[in-house]
Structure formats: structure tokens, C-alpha cells
């Protein structure tokens, strides 16, 4: 563990640490473009120059390993002048089209020019022109003129996905990023190149021109797209709703978590949020009698459902919970089951098409909380619940989220089952064929509209936080279940998800010792979990 000083601050770092990371540890930011901690060292932007004591000239920090006793200076006159020069070089052929560039506001050319540049431009000759608005694949758009050729995107495709779609073609100031002939940037992680592009060269085709980034708000969250539980930031546009036709969730960005997803996020997860602002969102409780669907108040709905539960023998109530529900929801439900002594409970519904999986982030289980549902004790035989309904042994069936009619189960058998139950209750965020067949439909808040935790496949419990208000009258499932519990006369003092989490921790040994505070931003492994 070499000890060195950076701008007079002593810091000890693991052997092999480069000077950008060593400085970071000392609280000193060394500006850089091509360096990325998840990629190989390219050393080509030349911005991360620092002075080493007794060295004849500044050297790049990214390719210099910290050694014992090293004295690193990041703010000498020489280093400042070099940075200023390198900034001028980066901007010589840059189109300076910030007013129409999506990156504006989060562009490292803008940030570093203001911090380290501030020279008077001297370039008065015609700039080099290159292709603009070139779609590289389904998600990524290239503006080659804005590109500073840091090669991060190329290295990402070479080193992380090993798909090698991108290269740098031509030479000198005519160099440009491009696709190899016959290729498209369509690997399952292509959106990451937009995140790591420090400038406006690679922009997100979905996000482009939606909203200026300085109008975005952000909330820490977890991707619900599969059992990995990648850490994300949810960026929402609440301040300029008219800029994106009412679309509130603007984009998802990966949030670094060393133990889960590091810097990355798959495209399926990144672009999988559209259901949140979709037209098919359920907004108010509804009741269907025959073909007639009418709105109801929550109070009416809860009273009616409590009555149904009261008059149905426990054996005639079936519950199909969802592995997309949070631990808090599932534990509230568990409380309901225990009080009513319900036994026909399950949460797994087989998908019609098996999920894809790779050896990087993507898991075949497309649910964020299967392990949580299992640990809370809801892991019954869902097919048996369906069969009980078909056999007319159920009076009431509660379905959370699932579209049973789009599952692996034969559609005719599901229709038969739904038709054979007196009261089908659907709780979920979006309408589909199964919700249309229910007698009661209760609108649930989407994950970005509420607090909660998921337990990923490795047993890591992670928090997600609200980014926007629930649409319409939608409520989190824990609250829906909580109101039902109250209506059934069960004492429930849980008015926040954290209350349910505390009860869960107290009741389920697997969660022992956890708390929201302990989970923090990066989550915690269950005490008994062994990382896969």
C-alpha cells in the first residue's frame, strides 16, 4: 500500500492504483476525458496531466502508477497552462453547437472549459466537417463533429461487451468514430456508450430533444427489469412537462455499485420504463359488473373487498402475488394471509417466453424480487391456485400485476379459471387482458412513484426511492393491503414502507439486522447470503 501526497494531502492507496484514482481518494479531481475506471487505459486525451516532483514535465495521471513517497501536484502553473492548451486543442474542430446539443448541461467540454479553459479562441479557419445525426443502432445517435475521439465507446464495445462494432476510422483531424462495415451498434448494452461519452457525440435516440437536462430531477433507484437489480438514477421531468408531451420519466441512468452493476445497465432495463407513463396506466379503482365498468372510490373498493374476504372461507381465496412487488408489499400481504389463514398463495407465473440471460448483468428471471417473495413465504404452487379456480373451488382470486393471459399457461384454461371465480380482484399499475377480466381493479403505483426495497438474486436488499407522484389515485401495494387489513379489523400501524420493512426484519430471520439506514444507497446482502 504505497503512501503518496497529492497537493499536500497524504493518501494511502492499494498497489497498482493510478494517479487519477489516488487523487480522487485524496479528494482531488484530475480532469480527464478518455480515462474511465471500467475500461483499459488509452492515455490519448492528454488532459489528465499532473506534475510529479522533480519530473522534467507534466505527465498523464491515468497511466502513472502511484508509488511510495510520490509527490503529485495537480495545480502548478505548468499543469494549469497545459490543461488550458489541451482544452483549446479539444475544441479546435468542435462545432460549439451547444444550443442544439442534448449533452449541453452535462457536457465535459462545457464543464472543463469553464473550469480549466477560459482562453480566447484563436481558431478562425474552417473547421473539419464530419457526419452528423448518424444512427449507429436502435438506441444511439452519432454526431462525429462533436466527438473528441476519446475512444471510450470503442473500448466499451471491445472490452465490456466484446462485440467490437465500433472503430476509429481515418487519420489525424479527419479521424472519426464509426461502425465496421455491415455492423450496427445493437448489442444488449449499447446504451452505455451514451453514458460514457463525455461529450455530445453519442446521444440517446429515446432521450434526444425531449427535455433539457437542467430541468431534470433525479432519484436513486433500482432497475426492476430482472433479478440483478442494477442500481440506477431515475431522471424525471417535472419542471417542463410540456417539453415531453407529459412523459415524466425522461431516462434511466446506471448508478455505480461495485457489487452489482458497476457503471453499467442493459438496454432492456434502460428503456424498460415506458409503462410508467403509458396510456394503459390504471388511475382509479374500478368495478366491473358484466360489461359495465364503473369508477369507484378507494373507500368503497376496500369495504367491498373486505366484505368479500370476510364471507369467503380461507380455502376459497386464492392469491397470486408478484415478484415485482417490493419486500414491504409482500410482507404486508403476508400479514393479511396470516390473519385470514389463507393457504392458496403463490407468486411465480411462468412467462410465455423464457427470459434471456448472459454472463454479465442480464438474468433470465425478469422480476426484481423473486428471492424476496420466496423469503417472505409466498412461494406456493401458482398452477395449483389456477387449477383450484378452474375447479370452481375459489370464490375470490386476487392477482397482483400478472397478465395470466400472456403467460405460459394456456389462454383457454386461464379464461376458464377467471370465469369460474365469483370475485376476481386485480391489483396493478397497467391494464391488460387479465385486468380487463377482473371484477375489481385497483391501481397500483409504479416503482418510480414510491419507496421500497427489492432483494436481488444474490440476496442483496436494495432501496428504491420515489421520483414522481403516483399517477391518478394509484397507491403502493403495501398501502392497498394495509387499508384492507384495517378494514378487516387487523391492527396496522404501518403508514410508511419503512414500518413494514421493520416488521419484516423482526418477523423473517433471513432479513435479521437490516434497516433502511443500513441499506444506504448500495444495499446490503442478507446476513445468510453468499454472493454467487
Amino acid at each position: 500500500m504505497p503512501k503518496l501526497t497529492v497537493d499536500g494531502k497524504e493518501v494511502e492507496v492499494p498497489g497498482g492504483t493510478n494517479l487519477i484514482e489516488a487523487a480522487r481518494k485524496a479528494g482531488v479531481e484530475v480532469p480527464h476525458y478518455c480515462y474511465h475506471p471500467g475500461l483499459s487505459i488509452a492515455g490519448q486525451c492528454r488532459l489528465c496531466m499532473v506534475d510529479l516532483e522533480k519530473a522534467p514535465r507534466p505527465t498523464i495521471a491515468c497511466n502513472t502508477t502511484a508509488t511510495e513517497g510520490m509527490v503529485v501536484l495537480t495545480e502548478t502553473d505548468r499543469v494549469r497552462e497545459t490543461r488550458k492548451s489541451i482544452m483549446e486543442f479539444h475544441l479546435i474542430n468542435h462545432p460549439l453547437d451547444c444550443p442544439v446539443c442534448d449533452q449541453a448541461g452535462e457536457c465535459w467540454l462545457q464543464i472543463y472549459y469553464m473550469k480549466h479553459g477560459l482562453y480566447d479562441p484563436r481558431m478562425t479557419d474552417e473547421k473539419v466537417h464530419k457526419p452528423k445525426a448518424v444512427p449507429l443502432g436502435p438506441h444511439v445517435m452519432l454526431d462525429a463533429e462533436r466527438c473528441i475521439l476519446c475512444s471510450r465507446c470503442v473500448r466499451f464495445c471491445d472490452e465490456i461487451t466484446a462485440t467490437g462494432e465500433l472503430g476509429i476510422f481515418e487519420r489525424g483531424d479527419h479521424s472519426e468514430i464509426g461502425l465496421f462495415p455491415g455492423r450496427a451498434l445493437d448489442n444488449p448494452y449499447s446504451g452505455n456508450v451514451v453514458d460514457i461519452c463525455p461529450v455530445g457525440a453519442l446521444t440517446d435516440r429515446d432521450f434526444r430533444f425531449q427535455v433539457r437536462v437542467w430541468y431534470l430531477d433525479s432519484a436513486k433507484s433500482v432497475c426492476p427489469g430482472c433479478a440483478r437489480g442494477c442500481n440506477i438514477d431515475v431522471h424525471v421531468n417535472r419542471r417542463r412537462p410540456h417539453h415531453a408531451e407529459g412523459r415524466r420519466v425522461a431516462r434511466l441512468k446506471p448508478r455505480f455499485n461495485e457489487a452489482v452493476n458497476r457503471w453499467w445497465l442493459c438496454d432492456a432495463g434502460r428503456y424498460g420504463f415506458t409503462f410508467v407513463d403509458d396510456q394503459d396506466r390504471l388511475l382509479v379503482p374500478t368495478r366491473r359488473e358484466g360489461e359495465t365498468v364503473s369508477d369507484a372510490t378507494w373507500d368503497d373498493a376496500i369495504v367491498a373487498l373486505a366484505a368479500t374476504f370476510r364471507r369467503s372461507p380461507p380455502d376459497e381465496i386464492g392469491i397470486i402475488a408478484s415478484p415485482k412487488m417490493a419486500n414491504e408489499d409482500l410482507f404486508a400481504l403476508r400479514r393479511l394471509l396470516d390473519n385470514l389463514a389463507l393457504r392458496r398463495v403463490a407468486f411465480r407465473v411462468p412467462p410465455r417466453v423464457a427470459g434471456d440471460q448472459d454472463n454479465f448483468l442480464i438474468r433470465a428471471d425478469k422480476n426484481p424480487n423473486s428471492l424476496g417473495a420466496e423469503l417472505v413465504g409466498l412461494g406456493g404452487d401458482s398452477r395449483a391456485v389456477l387449477e383450484a379456480a378452474r375447479a370452481r373451488r375459489l370464490r375470490c382470486l386476487v392477482i397482483f400485476g400478472h397478465d395470466l393471459l400472456a403467460s405460459e399457461w394456456p389462454e383457454a384454461e386461464v379464461r376458464e379459471a377467471l370465469g369460474a371465480v365469483e370475485t376476481v380482484i386485480f391489483v396493478g399499475s397497467n391494464a391488460h387482458a387479465t385486468s380487463a377480466a377482473a371484477h375489481w381493479v385497483l391501481p397500483a403505483a409504479a416503482w418510480v412513484e414510491r419507496d421500497g426495497t427489492y432483494t436481488n438474486f444474490e440476496g442483496r436488499v436494495q432501496r428504491f426511492r420515489p421520483a414522481v407522484e403516483p399517477l391518478g389515485q394509484a397507491l403502493a401495494e403495501w398501502e392497498i393491503v394495509g387499508r384492507l387489513l384495517a378494514a378487516l379489523g387487523v391492527d396496522s400501524t404501518a403508514t410508511r414502507p419503512e414500518h413494514w420493512f421493520r416488521q419484516l426484519v423482526a418477523a423473517v430471520p433471513a432479513f435479521a439486522g437490516l434497516s433502511y439506514q443500513a441499506l444506504g444507497d448500495g444495499g446490503r446482502l442478507l446476513p445468510g447470503a453468499v454472493r454467487a
Binding site: C45, I86, I92, L149
Partner: protein, 422 residues
Amino acid sequence: MTAEKILTRSFERPDSHTLDGYRASGGYQAWPKAQAMEPAAIVEEVKAANLRGLGGAGFPTGTKWSFIPKNHAGPVYLVINADEGEPGTFKDRYLLERDPHALIEGMLIAARAIRSATGFVYIRGEYVEPWRRFSAAVRDAYAAGYLGRGFDIVVHRGAGAYICGEETGLISSLEGKKGWPKLKPPFPAIKGAFGAPTIVNNVETICHVPHIINRGAAWFAGLGTKTQGGTRMYSVSGRVARPGVYEESVAITLRQLIYERAGGVTGNGRLKAVVPGGSSAAILTAAEIDVTMDVDGLRNAGTMAGSAGVIVMDETVSIPEALMVVARFYAHESCGQCTPCRESTGWIYKITHRIVEGRGRRADLDTILDVARRGAGTTICAFYDGAVGPYISYIEKFRSEFEALTEAAVAAAPRRVVVSHA
């Protein structure tokens, strides 16, 4: 005095490129001697000979060889840089065409010194005839049993990028990648071609090795100066009566080379300037040519020996135009990897072009000088520093020529009317 011809001794023989011709002029006699020597003894001999790299950097060859890690278990590669691309340089072409077996014998000895079983010869793509001649010589050397018994040679043709003559750019290209120079450290002697310890030497450098083994380090060292032994081949081009390749001691002066060997300036014209070591070397004025041509002599004169490509300019040459041509070359050949070089070579070319076209501005010259100085020493390889040599020296030494153009342009430009936008 004219130095003894060593590298070029058999150039006049019509069969100098054949195995028989090479043997007849004393070839393949050093190799058996070297085989009787310990590798370390060969390295010591070359060190003692003061042989310095003749591709451009002038690094002591024996010292370079000694950087190969001792007792390295995996392969070690010897790579010959035959990507001769420095403007004004054409000596390696002659060696490949007229004495290819000298390179093969030198490689055998060098490979023994660094314990390498495989050598690569990276030949500039445009060098078709040198490639044919060298490839034929390799085939003959295999047939004669010099190659294939513990040492093999792979001939690789480049595709025409100047940067592939840069040591690590060459290695990248050899590995099948874009010819981008690599970050150092690690240096090639530790981690070079295909991740193995690698020595990259210039053709001419290695062609000297058999003679050092044959005639001894002391003899070789005695041919040159205190810090550089031997002769070297000067490519003399431009406005001289007899352009061509001249083998001379490194102790010769530039004046002797131009006036006593190359026949002086064409048509008895007046000498204006000389580039002594390929286009990347700083230019010298006519008053600065009494300088010895060894690495240290030229370094002390503020320029460099480089590849010994001597470009002679007389009074008919416009220095601003010459700089524009050089700037165009560097803008065209910058590999584009490092930002300072990629962006400013193109920018400086545009400025020089504008000046030559009569659209120069007063600030242009200081802009070029400032940009060149700011970018110098900030890049992965020496390419940009090579471009900075001419940028700065042409303007500093011939500033009045540039100013004549910019002042004329300023005088001719229509007066700007400033319109208030208020």
C-alpha cells in the same frame, strides 16, 4: 578524405543482392564468429562500438538490447523497422534492394544477442522492389541454412502510414491493429509485439552489426566521434548537383557533405537552408552548416541527426511554402490518437496554407509558434515533437519571409467596416 565504404561497399556489384554476391564480398563470415560468442558478449561488443540507432532517435543499440529481461521464459522478438517514411530519407531502400543479406546476417547476430527465435521485418508498403529483393534473399537464406535453424524471419508489408515507422505504432500495425503508438510504460523491451519483449531496430543499424563482429568494436568506434561509432548513409536531396545516398563517417560536416560529396547547390545557386535529418529535424540556415553530422553534434546545433535525410534548399525555395508542405505532411500523417497532435497539425496546416495563399494575418505566426510550443511534449509518441521542429525553426529562422506574406495580405485586405449591432 572519403570514409571507407562499409554498408555500401558492394553497392556497385550487379549481383550484390544475391547470396553469392554477398558471400563474394565477405558476407556471412560474422555469423559463425557470433555463434561462438555468448549473447552477452555480443551485446557488450555492440555497446563498445558506440553503435547508435540510425532510424531517427539515435539511441545506443547495445544498451537497447540489454533492456530485454534476463532469463525471460517466453518468446522474444526482433523487429526490423523498414518502414522508411521520413521525408527526405531513402537509405534503407538501397540496403534492402542492394544488400538484403547484410540485414539477414545482422538479424541473425542481433537475435542471438537478445535470444530471439523470430524476427519480423516491417517493410513500407510502397517499397515494392525492396520487398521483392528482401523476400528473395530470405528464401535463399533459408535454402542455404542460415535461417530456419533456430531463427526465422517473417516479412510484413505495411500499408503506407508514416506513423507505422514509429516503434510502437509499428508494433500495433504488426499485431494487426490500427497503427497507433502505444503508451509507455511498458516499453517494448519489456512488453512489445504480441505482449512479448521486443527490440525494434532500423535496417541500417542492424546492417552494421556483422561488420562490428568481423572487425571489432574498437575499429567501428574509431570511425566516428567519441559518442557515436561508424559511418552512416546520408540521403541527400533537394537543390544539389548530385542527389543520392552517401556513406560517410558520422564525423563529417554538413558543409562537406553538401559541397564535397553532393556537388554543391544546383547550378551554382546560393544555399538558403538545410534540413539535416529528415523533415522532423529543425532547419539550419546557410550559415549553420559547419556542424558535424553525428547525433550529439546536431543536437548541440539545436536540430537532430534523425534519419540523416539531408534536404537542401537554395534561394529559389520559399520557406513559407516549404513549411506549408511539411505541415500538410504532418496533418495528413498524424494518427489522430492524441488530441494535441490530431487537432493542431491540421490547424497549423490551415494557417500556413492561408499565409501562402495571401490571406495571412499578423497574429498567425505567433499563433503557430505558441500552439507548437504548447503541444510539444504532451503526446504519446514523438510524432508531434517532430512536427514542432519545422514549425518553430522555419518561422524563427526565416520570420521575415513569412512576415512579407502576412503584411502584404494585411495591406491588400479590404478595410473592414465595423457596424454597430446596438
